[in-house]
C-alpha cells in the first residue's frame, strides 16, 4: 500500500495554491488520478517519484518510508526507481527507440516484448525525431516499464493515441502491470470507462 500525506505549495498565475493530499493507494492496483487543470496532479506524481519535495508530509510504500519531512528522510529518485511517463514524453534525442529501452533493461526478451506491446517493432532503430507524436508517446510508456518498476506513474499517457490503438495498448499494458505486480497511478483528463484500465479513482482538488 502507498500511504501518502503531503502538503505542497504550487505556483499559480494569481499566487499560490496548496496541494493537500492524504490518502492510501492499493498496492498492485491501477488508480486513475482525476482533477481540474492546475490542481496538482502532475505535482503529486513528481513528489511520489522524488522529483519534487513537499513542504511537509510523508510517503510510505509497503511500510518502507520514502519520505518523512519531520524525520528528514527523503529517498532519491534513483532509489525509488519509479517508472514515469512524462506529459512531454522526455525522450532522449540522442538515442534510438531500442537504446531507450536498453538504458533501462538488459533483458533482450523483455525489450522485444515491450516493442510488441507498443507496436513499435518496425521503429527500433528510429530516433524520437523520426517518430510521430503517438509513436513517441508509446516509446515513453515502454521506457517507463523497461526497468520493471514497483510503482508506475503515468501523466496523460494515452493522450496522443487513436481509440483503436489506445484500446489495444491499454489491454496489453494492463496485463503487463498485473504480471509484474506493479502499482500504477495514472493522471488523466478523460476518465477511463468502467473496467477499461483503472481499478480505482482518486480526485485531486
Amino acid at each position: 500500500m502507498i500511504e501518502i500525506a503531503i502538503k505542497k505549495k504550487i505556483k499559480t498565475y494569481n499566487g499560490f495554491d496548496l496541494l493537500d493530499v492524504k490518502s492510501n493507494f492499493a498496492s498492485r492496483g491501477i488508480t486513475q488520478v482525476l482533477g481540474n487543470s492546475g490542481a496538482g496532479k502532475t505535482t503529486l506524481l513528481k513528489i511520489l517519484a522524488g522529483l519534487l519535495l513537499p513542504e511537509e508530509g510523508y510517503i510510505r510504500v509497503d511500510n518502507e518510508t520514502w519520505l518523512d519531512t519531520k524525520a528528514n528522510i527523503c529517498l532519491s529518485p534513483q532509489k525509488r526507481q519509479t517508472g514515469f511517463v512524462f506529459q512531454d514524453y522526455a525522450l532522449f534525442p540522442n538515442m534510438t527507440a531500442e537504446e531507450h529501452l536498453r538504458y533501462g533493461s538488459v533483458d533482450e526478451e523483455y525489450i522485444n516484448e515491450l516493442f510488441r506491446i507498443g507496436r513499435l517493432e518496425k521503429f527500433k532503430r528510429h530516433k524520437p525525431r523520426q517518430l510521430s507524436g503517438g509513436q513517441q508517446q508509446r516509446l515513453a510508456i515502454l521506457r517507463s516499464v523497461s526497468t520493471k518498476p514497483r510503482i508506475l506513474l503515468m501523466d496523460e499517457p494515452f493522450s496522443a493515441l487513436d481509440n483503436d490503438l489506445k484500446g489495444a495498448i491499454i489491454s496489453d499494458l494492463k496485463q503487463l502491470i498485473r504480471r509484474l505486480e506493479m502499482t500504477c497511478l495514472v493522471v488523466t483528463h478523460q476518465p477511463f470507462r468502467e473496467g477499461e484500465f483503472a481499478d480505482f479513482s482518486f480526485r485531486v482538488d
Binding site: A49, Q78, T82, F84, A90, F92, N94, Y103
Partner: protein, 223 residues
C-alpha cells in the same frame, strides 16, 4: 617567414581548449543547476573577461604572478614555477581569458534542455554522473563543439593579455598576434601581412567548419 609564432599560437590554443573542456563541462553543469547567490557571483567573475579590457586582466596577472610579489615568489621558490614571461603563464592567462567562451555556450545549452529529460533518467535509477554522460552531454554536442571552437579561435587571436604576461620572447611567448605587432613596429609590413593572412584564413576555416557541422542542429550555428 618565421613559422614559430604560428606553431606557438596553435599549441597555445589547443592546450587552452583542452584544459577548458575539462574544467568547463563540470563548471557549466554546476552553474546550469538551480541558481544561488554564490553561483551568480561566480558566473559574473567568469563573464568578466568578455567585458574587461585584456590589458587590465593581463596587468593584474602580471602583478599577481610576478616573482617580486608573494604568490609569484612562493611559486618560484617552492614549486620552481615561473608564470610571467613563460609559455606556462600564457596558458594560465589564456585559460582565464577564454573561460566565458567555453562555459557560457555549454551552460546555455544545458539550461535549454527540458528538466524532464534528466528526471526521466533519474527515475530509471541512473546517477547524476551517468545522466550527464549518457543523456545531457550527447544532446548538447553541437554547443560543446561551438564552445571549443570559439575558445580555440579566441585564444588564437589573443593579444593584450599575452603581451602583458608573456612579453615578446621568440620561441617562448612570441605568438602570432605579437609577431604581427612586432613586424609593424619594425615597419616589416610584408611579414605582418603574412601572419595576418594566416590568422585570417585559420579563423575563417574554423568558423566555417562550425557553421557546416552545426547547420542542422541549431537556429544559428554560433548559438
Amino acid at each position: 617567414m618565421d613559422w614559430e609564432p604560428i606553431w606557438l599560437s596553435l599549441r597555445l590554443s589547443l592546450i587552452t581548449t583542452v584544459i577548458l573542456l575539462v574544467i568547463g563541462l563540470p563548471v557549466a553543469y554546476w552553474l546550469s543547476r538551480k541558481s544561488s547567490i554564490p553561483k551568480l557571483i561566480l558566473e559574473a567573475i567568469i563573464t568578466m573577461p568578455l567585458v574587461l579590457p585584456p590589458s587590465v586582466l593581463g596587468f593584474y596577472l602580471l602583478i599577481t604572478f610576478s616573482p617580486q610579489n608573494a604568490l609569484g615568489r612562493w611559486l618560484q621558490e617552492t614549486l620552481d614555477v615561473q608564470l610571467v614571461f613563460s609559455f606556462g603563464g600564457l596558458i594560465m592567462a589564456s585559460v582565464i581569458y577564454s573561460l566565458p567562451f567555453m562555459i557560457n555556450p555549454i551552460k546555455s545549452a544545458l539550461v535549454q534542455l527540458p528538466d524532464s529529460m534528466a528526471e526521466a533518467s533519474y527515475t530509471m535509477g541512473k546517477s547524476k554522473k551517468q545522466t550527464l554522460i549518457h543523456i545531457l552531454i550527447p544532446n548538447i554536442k553541437s554547443s560543446i563543439l561551438t564552445a571549443a571552437v570559439l575558445t580555440f579561435a579566441h585564444t588564437l587571436g589573443e593579444f593584450g593579455v599575452v603581451l602583458m604576461i608573456g612579453g615578446n620572447i621568440p620561441g617562448v611567448t612570441k605568438v602570432a598576434s605579437i609577431a604581427i605587432y612586432d613586424s609593424v613596429e619594425r615597419m616589416d609590413y610584408a611579414s605582418a601581412n603574412n601572419y595576418s593572412l594566416i590568422l585570417f584564413a585559420l579563423t575563417f576555416v574554423i568558423v566555417l567548419t562550425v557553421f557546416i557541422v552545426n547547420r542542422n542542429s541549431v537556429k544559428s550555428p554560433l548559438e
